[in-house]
């Protein structure tokens, strides 16, 4: 796995670009540890200052330093995306593998439910969820709900791989080598599923961050935990664009776009790596 990453980094331009973008973003979030003030404090610096050497990204109308504020926001946003992806990965792996291995009736039932969640319009449901939760809506509750809603598409992908692996001859060969089901799944099949899990994780993080930003900007989350969305929310509340405080909006938007493109590039390059056709052709040309 490590050597694959090294190869990708060296020879795949998309992967390298994605890794570089994410590197910047992660470095920014790491800066939050060095922040001279807690994120919730307001009016600690003079408000509405444009970017300068003292205040790298300027200051907000609420008297916050955009740079340090952004470091907390991006940290929370990344963490949010990561946790949603992690939780929904567990769901999609379990459901996808189960459906694929067991087949038959179980598969049909699980996939009907799965398809239901794929076409369900999630945004109104999330809004409704906030609506009834109101002030009890927290960052963690939102993460849980989104993980519960965001597994379906990837479960379908994993299922299709599990199904094809089940019928491969080497699976039977492993059975007759005395391996247990657990050994076969963990040692023979998991290597095939891992790359797709990796690439869907990237896309899932994108998806959850996108929705989180949207909900936060509308004020439908806890507006006291700084995230990228919450920063834009406050900027909008203070009509930052009309007031000419463009840096309050520009830096969060630019940074979050870097996240989206960076993660997507990683997913795409990984997808290309795992595409059976391109891998097959590589193997064929190596053999002929």
């Amino acid at each position: 796995m490590l050597s694959i990453l090294k190869d990708l980094l060296r020879y795949n331009r998309e992967f390298a670009a994605g890794a570089a973008l994410l590197g910047i973003v992660v470095a920014m979030s790491a800066m939050s540890a060095l922040a001279p003030m807690p994120p919730d404090d307001v009016y600690v610096v003079p408000p509405d200052l444009p970017p300068s050497w003292t205040y790298l990204m300027g200051t907000t109308s609420r008297g916050q330093d955009v740079f340090w504020q952004l470091s907390f926001a991006i940290r929370n946003t990344l963490l949010f995306g990561f946790i949603v992806a992690l939780l929904s990965r567990i769901l999609s792996l379990v459901i996808g593998l189960l459906s694929g291995y067991l087949g038959g009736f179980v598969d049909r039932v699980l996939m009907s439910i799965n398809d239901t969640f794929i076409v369900m319009p999630l945004f109104p449901i999330l809004v409704m969820f906030y609506f009834v939760m109101r002030d009890r809506m927290s960052w963690a509750a939102l993460a849980l709900v989104m993980a519960g809603l965001g597994w379906a598409y990837d479960a379908r992908l994993i299922r299709s791989i599990a199904m094809s692996l089940r019928t491969r001859q080497f699976t039977e060969h492993s059975v007759y080598s005395g391996m247990s089901t657990r050994q076969i799944v963990a040692q023979e099949h998991l290597p095939y599923v891992m790359p797709i899990v990796f690439s869907t994780t990237m896309n899932n993080i994108n998806w959850s961050i996108g929705l989180e930003v949207t909900l936060s900007v509308l004020g439908f989350t806890n507006i006291n935990t700084p995230t990228i969305g919450v920063m834009i929310y406050w900027a909008n509340q203070h009509t930052a664009m009309t007031a000419g405080v463009w840096w309050w909006v520009f830096f969060p938007v630019a940074l979050v776009i870097m996240v989206f493109i960076g993660l997507f590039l990683l997913a795409v390059s990984m997808n290309e790596y795992i595409d059976p056709r391109s891998r097959l052709s590589r193997m064929r040309s190596a053999k002929t």
Binding site: Q169, H173, Y176, S177, G178, E188, K287
Partner: protein
Amino acid sequence: MSPPLLEVSNASKIYAMGGLLSRRRFAAVADVSFTLEEDRHEIFTIIGESGSGKTTLARMILNIVPATEGTIRFRGVDLATIRKRADRLAFMRQVQPIFQNPFEAFNPLKRVDRYLYMTALHFTDARTADEVRAKADRALRQVGLSLAEVKGRFPHELSGGQLQRVAVARSLISSPALIIADEPVSMVDASIRMSIVNLFKALRDTLKVSIIYITHDLATAYYISDRIIIMKKGEVVESGNAREVLAHPTHPYSILLKNSVLSPDPSRRDELLAPQFSSTEKDIAALR
């Protein structure tokens, strides 16, 4: 009197096909019976075209597909009663498969020798790494290879013939009484094919293993078989001593099959232009 090695009595595999309302029954294997004796080591060949049910029958004997009617007994044990993992391991120790496509029988992401070690670990008394390696090496030497040639290699680093030899070696590690080989040479190159076929002969004569050889190729069947059955659409149409049946088939289908085999003899090429093989209605029926 000890029970026979393998006793297939009136075994059938019937699938229900079709949609919600109309259910058709389709017999992949219909009422097949034959017996392999314990100490008459032989190559028993099942001949058939695609759709004849020969592969389904092989999978029934391997206890991968359950018989829907009739029984299959191995050394007196009804395969339908083998459920617990310990029983299944005991059965697999005595009955081992060899698959058609050597490139498919090994996981392309895993090293080839791993299958040998796993088999030795689960089916023999070898416990230490050295013992396991010794077992693998001994088996490989029985097929004309050695561990040194195979160790640490991935499937794409070996040729089809080598891989098929490794597959045979792996099946020998547990000293089975019965080997079931499904088209083991159809994907192997012509120049190497006969050495694999000869290998089966040698296993029968020196290691005293009975072999069920499944093929569509009458020529290799004639070359190595002791007894054969010919299957068509799930049913056995003719059976008996291999040389006699193939030299003088009596069932119309067996005769058609034999006449369809192209002779590797250019002097008889005008047979291809003979009327019965270019324009009669019978031929068209066969083509469908």
